[in-house]
């Protein structure tokens, strides 16, 4: 029987397995659901799972294997920016489709990639806005703490520019970077405490990644940094990460996402139920990148059905404009810049490891590939429908990087 093959390119071992394994399961779950509905175009979907093992060059190798050897029609995968950068040339060369489900630093828009996670304007900036508001505590002093790699660097650059544009003085911004997997946070947490004792309301914007979060939060807890004193808003901490921490001391710390498991919406409730049944684990949590995977998957299915084929070029052309319901009650739309529209939610950590949604954008925010707050990218625009270009310079009226 002929099937449509779907590639899954998420690390199942190594440092990123902790986050990515769930996404692999999500794709398998979605495929299962879709097949129950009869598949796509009358064919069943078949998952091809590989393990790029948190090894960035291996991502490129495995991407090739999926596309060239296994002939998959689409790939769902990657988490870290570097893994995405690693596979980009492969997707361009072999002309395939990648759905990338994780919040990222932006500054990219490729024809072969669809970004269903948040761009900085769909996560970082609203989060800061919230903290500056009355409800968020009217924060005046900022700690931008991140792991030393490109996503935090870029995000913090954007935020720094944004904060300054809002009148925050340079001495009220502290930027701190730590290596991957940093586990001794004593000094940094005490520095944050010190920074926060200057008499102005202080908050931490955390782009700390992966494994480093747990020791960071444990240290916050044990040094008694309460959310009411210095709230921490994180962009990489979701339900999955919290499942590994005793959250009682973290009560009230924040996260900004486009989805929380605690969203009250029938579609979400239904999804959680089926997901827990699929994984045979009644306690299994859901999180934002999962939702992004779900949206991406549904958008692809819809586009394939609309195009009537899995042909890569046709599907790529069909995808912009496709609308699929997200799990927070809205309808997300695939934009011409290959990003999507999403709501932005701020949640406070509860003692059961879930988030209490304390703020939400009014409507859906369209993802912006190129930020308006950085010198180089301010003038860039992306539009794969009319301009057919991911980095169109509105000043020079030229499309960059198209020479070859």
């Amino acid at each position: 029987e002929e099937t449509i093959k779907v590639g899954v390119l998420h690390s199942l071992s190594g440092t990123m397995a902790i986050s990515e394994t769930t996404l692999k399961d999500t794709v398998l779950f979605m495929i299962d659901e879709q097949n129950k509905k009869g598949g796509v175009l009358g064919k069943k979907l078949e998952a091809v799972v590989v393990d790029p093992a948190s090894n960035w060059p291996l991502f490129a190798e495995k991407a090739k294997e999926l596309i060239a050897q296994n002939k998959v029609s689409v790939v769902f995968g990657c988490w870290t920016s570097v893994s995405r950068k690693s596979v980009l040339p492969v997707f361009k060369e072999l002309n395939s489709i990648l759905f990338y489900p994780v919040q990222y630093e932006g500054e990219e828009s490729e024809r072969n990639v669809f970004y269903t996670g948040a761009a900085p304007n769909q996560q970082a900036i609203p989060a800061v806005d919230y903290l500056m508001s009355k409800d968020g505590g009217e924060v005046k002093r900022w700690v931008l703490a991140g792991t030393d790699y490109v996503y935090p660097r870029t995000t913090n650059k954007i935020l720094e520019a944004y904060l300054k544009s809002k009148g925050v003085a340079a001495e009220d911004i502290m930027i701190n970077y730590t290596p991957f997997g940093h586990s001794d946070w004593q000094t940094i947490v005490s520095d944050i405490k010190k920074f926060g004792s200057a008499g102005k309301k202080t908050a931490v914007v955390s782009t700390i990644n992966g494994d480093a979060n747990v020791p960071f939060y444990k240290e916050l807890g044990s040094q008694g940094v309460k959310a009411t004193d210095i709230p921490v808003v994180a962009f990489s901490v979701g339900e999955e990460e919290l499942a590994g921490i005793d959250t009682k001391p973290l009560l009230g710390h924040l996260a900004a996402w486009n989805y929380f498991q605690s969203v009250e919406d029938p579609a979400n409730a239904e999804f959680i139920k089926k997901w827990q049944a699929f994984t045979k684990n009644p306690k299994r949590v859901t999180n934002d990148p999962m939702e992004a995977t779900v949206i991406g998957f549904n958008a692809w299915v819809k586009a394939v059905e609309k195009a009537g084929t899995v042909d890569v070029d046709k599907v790529i052309d069909t995808l912009p404009g496709i609308e699929v319901p997200n799990l927070t009650g809205g309808i997300s739309k695939v934009l011409p810049n290959h990003h999507i529209t999403k709501p932005v939610l701020i949640g406070e950590i509860k003692d059961d490891g879930q988030f209490d949604i304390v703020w939400k954008t009014d409507g859906l925010v369209p993802g912006d590939a190129w930020t308006d707050f950085l010198e180089g990218s301010k003038d860039l625009d992306s539009d794969w429908v009319t301009l057919k270009c991911g980095n169109y310079n509105t000043k020079t009226k030229k499309c960059g990087g198209q020479a070859s």
């Binding site: 071992s13 590989v50 093992a53 960035w56 190798e61 294997e65 060239a68 950068k85 690693s86 991957f180």
Partner: protein
């Protein structure tokens, strides 16, 4: 004659490498895609990567197998070679980057670099980059080795400081402030000496060059280890201080092989980058360097050919396992390592050749022992 010292295993190996170097590109380029013998496009750089790893393994075997220097930081030299090549490739992108800056690579644009850092000068020229591929690992190895060997740091102490070195480099390269692309490293290369890097022909050539580099590296290392110099190395490995008492300046010998090995590793890295399409600080990860040593152990330490074989087997195994058994492949790989140590104590090649000798003996003899104990001569 430099080839005189190559043994049978060596000839078989060279034959295979050279044949592969010619045959695989040919099968890729000239055999139609639907033919059974066609080698698909994606396979060429993949096999090319294995060859680079094999060369790297040989460079490690040279110092570990023969001079007893267990470097747990050889990934550093490999990666530096790779980075030097990567810098060249980045400069070749020119205005084809997303920000279309004619000079600055993309990552510099969005990190607000105003101009190219000084150490990037010259990398737009191929010859300069190639010199750097050799020079940068060589200088690091020289400085590091000069201090370490002069201070008579040996054994695990040496291993651990090589590991500290590679770890420090990893952290340094991770830093975005280094001006080398931070965690993302370099990727999305466009062309090399004017040829499209993704073209099948370019890849075929790169593959061929890798095969030649491997063959050349093997011949060179083999020549060294069979020379008197090589015997001195082994002497150093087994009884370092005794060697000194005979008058050999141990530190110089070690330094020479160490630098040479670093250069070979650097060349392997330089060939690796364009074929894999990305170079980033994870190449400096200490675990990677440990794994490289393990390739050598799997293949058979102190055999050169075995080292290359080990690199091929482990990496091919990895490719295969990660695709075929994505959830369980670590069991398979870990199991392979344990199996090799327990049942093939001399590594794959060591065991093969002992087996061969045994078979030969059985064939030749009928009980008479060729190497019987000669009594004290009268």
């Amino acid at each position: 004659m430099i080839l005189r010292h190559i043994d049978r295993a060596g000839w078989v190996f060279l034959g295979m490498v050279i044949t592969a170097g010619l045959l695989i590109p040919a099968l890729n380029l000239f055999v139609p895609a639907d033919n059974f013998f066609h080698v698909p496009d994606y396979l060429v750089p993949l096999l090319g990567k294995y060859l680079c790893f094999a060369l790297l393994a040989i460079s490690i075997d040279l110092i570990w197998g023969y001079a007893g220097i267990l470097s747990l930081g050889h990934g550093a030299f490999f990666a530096l070679g790779g980075y030097a090549m990567g810098m060249y490739l980045m400069r070749q992108i020119g205005t084809r980057g997303v920000y279309a800056d004619p000079i600055l690579p993309d990552f510099m644009v969005f990190l607000n670099y105003k101009e190219l850092p000084w150490f990037w000068y010259g990398f737009d020229m191929f010859w300069f980059a190639m010199i750097m591929v050799i020079l940068v690992p060589a200088i690091l190895a020289f400085v590091f080795g000069w201090f370490a060997f002069r201070s008579r740091v040996t054994g695990v102490y040496l291993s651990i400081i090589t590991q500290a070195m590679v770890f420090a480099l990893m952290l340094a390269f991770f830093r975005n402030d280094m001006g080398l692309g931070g965690n993302n490293g370099f990727t999305d290369f466009k062309d090399i000496v004017g040829f499209n890097i993704q073209a099948a022909e370019t890849r075929a050539v790169l593959f061929f060059l890798s095969a030649m580099a491997l063959a050349g590296g093997y011949i060179l290392c083999r020549w060294i280890v069979t020379s008197k110099f090589g015997k001195v190395l082994v002497a150093i490995r087994d009884a370092e201080s005794r060697t000194r008492f005979i008058g050999y300046r141990v530190e110089n010998y070690k330094l020479v092989v160490f630098v040479l090995s670093a250069v070979i590793a650097g060349i392997a890295g330089a060939l690796y980058t364009p074929q894999v399409g990305i170079i980033n600080p994870s190449e400096f990860a200490p675990a990677n360097s440990i794994e490289m040593v393990i390739w050598v152990a799997v293949g058979g330490r102190g055999t050169l050919v075995g080292a290359a074989l080990g690199a091929l087997v482990v990496n091919a195994g990895k490719t295969w396992f990660t695709g075929a058994l994505p959830d369980l492949w670590l069991f398979a790989l870990g199991g392979l390592f344990v199996f090799v140590t327990l049942f093939l104590p001399k590594g794959i090649l060591g065991t093969l050749s002992t087996g061969w000798e045994k078979a030969q003996r059985r064939f030749r003899s009928d009980g008479s022992v060729p190497n019987g104990v000669p009594s004290a001569a009268e």
